[in-house]
Symmetry: C2
Subunit: 256 residues, 2 copies
DNA sequence: CTATATCGTTCATATATATGAACATCGTTC
DNA sequence: GAACGATGTTCATATATATGAACGATATAG
């Protein structure tokens, strides 16, 4: 383990979280010595991982990260393997499809194909969302061990976004039971108004859930009826992706 | 300057350039000690900047980079400032627009809005292309000092991609003269068959060209006539973006 | 099935690096 | 306009780190 590199990554994290910052800002926020931050930033800038605004002296993330981010995405097993299935779902229903992974008890959106319709869910690659109020998040949550779910709820709470957001551990437990039986999760305007999505889990070769995919679109078009038509397709895409990742499990009979 | 961080970035670069690699591969290719590579990778993995395949023991880029890449893109001055202009051009012509920066004597695509048509240029954020055969590349190249152009040609050569690619320094010099007079560059199927694009330069506050934007689409639809209709709009978008970035220059009269 | 080569990993120590303090510079405040 | 407080930057040295050599495990070859 290398402290210096860890510090550099801390700095990148800090830069990703807010407006351009100066050396002192960063040092204060991260509890690191100014001079350390300074020399690390110097290196990052020389590699275009960070960028220094010569007028303000503030630092922000650099162009090289765009390139690396793109390589990371196209290189990830999960992205490569999932791509054709995402495309299949996108073509069939003409709704936006998302691919997400579990990271730090949140979902991180790592791939997206947008619907071609005028009214559609927009691309959100690289952003994060809570587990308890998104279809992908709930699809992951439901297949974690109960103890893990409790731990996450304790840590993150159940913040409310809309009138439909699940806000009590009891309702969440009930929802988890439903998702485990069905094999898919529905986000019925629980994170954003007018947005209805259906998501299914993706398992790794060890058999644990670590990712999810979803179809999402405006509730006016994605009626509950249509969502239930989509669900089996999303589930089987998730299962097929899991298998190609080395998963050797079997779906429950209630899933199909 | 911090060697350790530089090494970590070298490793990321290596991981971005090819298939997943092991510790020894990386150490050999980069001329670094195995143990150094090992401990750096350990740190990168713990921060999800890199990923280790537990079965093969090989390393690849991690999900965190997708997030950072996204933040870099939305945070970059140039992206933020250019976004509305890219959108304007995209809506007006319904062709794919690209935003690129000059990096290492290549163009790096940093933003894109796709056309909504069936036949269209696809998104390429994060990839690179040569300067001498793309509209964005030529738009940048033409506004570099002559000495710089010569240096780049000496370093990169003029690799041929299609029948129309500019392959001799003389033809390139003539093309540069035209672009300087017009204020925009046309890629007439010089990089890919059936693809015709028009690009214009973007200048920074020091007055040097460092980025470019373009409209691109199938040659069958983007006739030379249509390209020439697009050109003034692309040029004025480039100039307006430059001004908002602090550029105080004046376009030549022949540009409008 | 043995021998060999190559792999990822560990560890002590020589070595390069992090950093506290001091510096010059800038913008603010009184 | 002087004093202050904040900034980004430099530098010597105490300190944490890079790394060569050695390890066991695994794959390949004979």
């Amino acid at each position: 383990m290398v402290n210096t590199v860890a510090k550099a990554l801390q700095i990148l994290d800090a830069l990703s979280e807010s407006q351009p910052q100066g050396v002192s800002d960063l040092a204060r926020n991260l509890g690191l010595p100014k001079s350390s931050v300074y020399s690390i930033l110097e290196t990052l800038v020389s590699e275009k991982i960070a960028e220094k605004n010569v007028q303000t002296g503030k630092y922000s993330l650099g162009v090289k990260l765009i390139e690396l981010g793109n390589c990371a995405q196209t290189g990830l097993d999960i992205c490569r393997i999932a791509a054709p299935f995402l495309q299949g779902l996108n073509v069939k229903f003409d709704e936006t499809v998302h691919l997400t992974v579990l990271d730090n008890n949140e979902v991180l959106y790592i791939d997206c194909i947008e619907s071609r319709r005028r009214l559609r869910t927009y691309s959100v690659i690289g952003v994060r969302a809570p587990l308890h109020c998104t279809s992908v998040g709930k699809a992951i949550l439901a297949f974690l061990p109960d103890a893990e779910i409790e731990k996450i709820v304790a840590e993150k709470g159940l913040p409310v976004f809309t009138a439909a957001t699940i806000a009590s551990p009891e309702r969440l437990a009930a929802e988890v039971a439903v998702i485990r039986r069905q094999g898919f999760a529905i986000d019925n305007m629980e994170h954003e108004e007018h947005l209805r999505c259906v998501g299914a889990p993706i398992f790794n070769s060890q058999g644990s859930v670590f990712a999810a995919l979803s179809l999402s679109g405006p509730a006016e078009r994605n009626t509950m009826e249509r969502i239930l038509e989509m669900a089996p397709e999303v589930v089987s895409a998730g299962l097929e992706i899991s298998r190609r990742l080395g998963w050797r499990g079997e779906p429950q009979s209630s899933w199909r």
